[in-house]
Amino acid sequence: MAATLSDSDRRMLDGRDGRAARLAMSVVSRMAEVLGAAELMDVSQAHIDGCGLLSEAGLEFAETLAAEGAKVCIPTTLNMGPLDLKNWRSFGVPEDFADKAVRQAKAYEQMGCIPTWTCAPYQGYLTPRFGQQIAWGESNAVCYANSVLGARTNRYGDYIDICAAITGRVPRCGLHLAENRRGEILLRLVDIDPDLWRDESSYAALGHLIGPKVGDKIPVIEGLPPAAGGDQLKALGAAAASSGAVAMFHALGITPEANTAKQAFAGRRPRQIIDIRPADMSAARADLSTAGEGDKLDEVVLGCPHFSFDEFRRLAELLQAQAAETFHRQVTFTVITSRASLALVRQSNFFDVIEAFGVRITLDTCLFHTPLVCPETKVIMTNSGKCAYYAPGELNVQVAFGTMADCVRSAIRGRVCQEATA
């Protein structure tokens, strides 16, 4: 059944606010029908994922809207794009790809979007507040916004995100409504060595494990340490949103809608209880690696989602602790981050350590959306569950998953070594 539209929704749909608003409202209202929403609702902030992938159709869509004079009507940040807009020449990106990527970036900026170019918008500019109704794209950002910030968004796919930003409207349903945010499945962490939680790769492994177990249900995780911070929960959510369709999780005593089990489940009983034991965690780690111990390593990729200031700090500490002064000559060590984080890191007292070691830093983009990994690359290593999940299919490489310390050691030796997690 078609959703009931307000007068201003109707005006946009009828084309009285121009062709761009008509197209945007048509997409939003048709999606309301698909979702079974009775009406639309206001959102006060948007984050655009559709600017990330470069495709002929995506470029045509953005340029069509921009040419029609479309403007966003709410503050709107941009996810990573298909290009390191400043430094793409040093990464050997083909000219024609770069030309189109720049055109796409311009179209989104012309519509009034803020050029944040990051997949970790929650660690940068314009972080949403608790309870704020927002329209965010990018599965990891959606998961973080709902779970860690307590802002409210559904998983907005590419192209409805900009439509929501132009109209300020979304279908009223799903995670925008309190009743759909309660936990459904209890995940108990049983007999897991507390030391494991000191490394973010354990959070990524846990996320990878959770995805297929819960699908699109909301899990309540019991047993994570109260000290779990933003970077850890970022790793968890990104992995769970890759291996499953997790748009929200609760972590008891950690996330803002889960101070108690009663609050997390809204007074109901969990539909299902799943125990997660050390063997499950080891299996999840193993499942994330397609390359083996000792394999020749070509590239390390960190920063999926984008590296934060604090992750750079930990990387610098690890590099300083090594006897070596640089990486193995065959290994490229790449860190992907945002303009905002790099601007801070450049002012830190550890930036020279990172530079001196030969870390290659790239901005604004994602290794899956820009030709960053060269065709000769056979084996990459990462501490990201999301990166490890997608790399074999997207980049046609073998992937080794390990801790950040494993990644550093492996890059120095030129071979995959996962001793820190053995």
Partner: protein
């Protein structure tokens, strides 16, 4: 004998093709190549299969919010499935189909079936989708739910 299944049209339209069947959800981004129409999620049970022109029968979409972009691009490039039959609507895939309709005036019909009907479609069956969501299946006799693939 053909069988007629009553589906719910999520994206209305007509299409016909041979069934490509999977019991596993798929993320189109990272899972479907818009250049070739190949399933490229190397962890997926149908990795390597070509979805272009097929009636793709799989439980639901999953993962990335970029899947709508991949479906849109594959519709533009002519590498999309002829139709999609799911157990559960994936709004992200439906979105790709809607944007394709808005931008190019063509799309991929999407239908939801009940569990029994969904699992009765076998690989290689000839499947036709009607604009009202009916699914006509030629080929297998259908299998009882107990005999379905895991």
């Amino acid at each position: 004998m053909s069988r007629i299944l009553a589906g719910k049209a999520i994206i209305a339209g007509s299409a016909e093709g041979l069934a490509l069947v999977s019991g596993q959800p798929l993320s189109f981004w990272g899972g479907y190549c818009p250049k070739t129409g190949e399933i490229i999620d190397r962890r997926h049970e149908r990795s390597g299969a070509i979805g272009a022109g097929r009636v793709f029968v799989f439980p639901t979409g999953r993962g990335s919010s970029t899947s709508s972009a991949i479906l849109l691009e594959s519709i533009r490039a002519g590498t999309a499935p002829a139709a999609v039959v799911n157990l559960k609507t994936d709004p992200i895939l439906a979105l790709g189909a809607i944007v394709a309709d808005e931008l190019y005036g063509r799309s991929v019909p999407m239908v939801i079936l009940s569990e029994n009907d969904f699992f009765s479609i076998c690989e290689g069956d000839r499947v036709a989708i009607g604009p009202d969501g009916t699914v006509t299946v030629d080929g297998s006799q259908g299998r009882p739910p107990a005999a379905r693939d895991s």
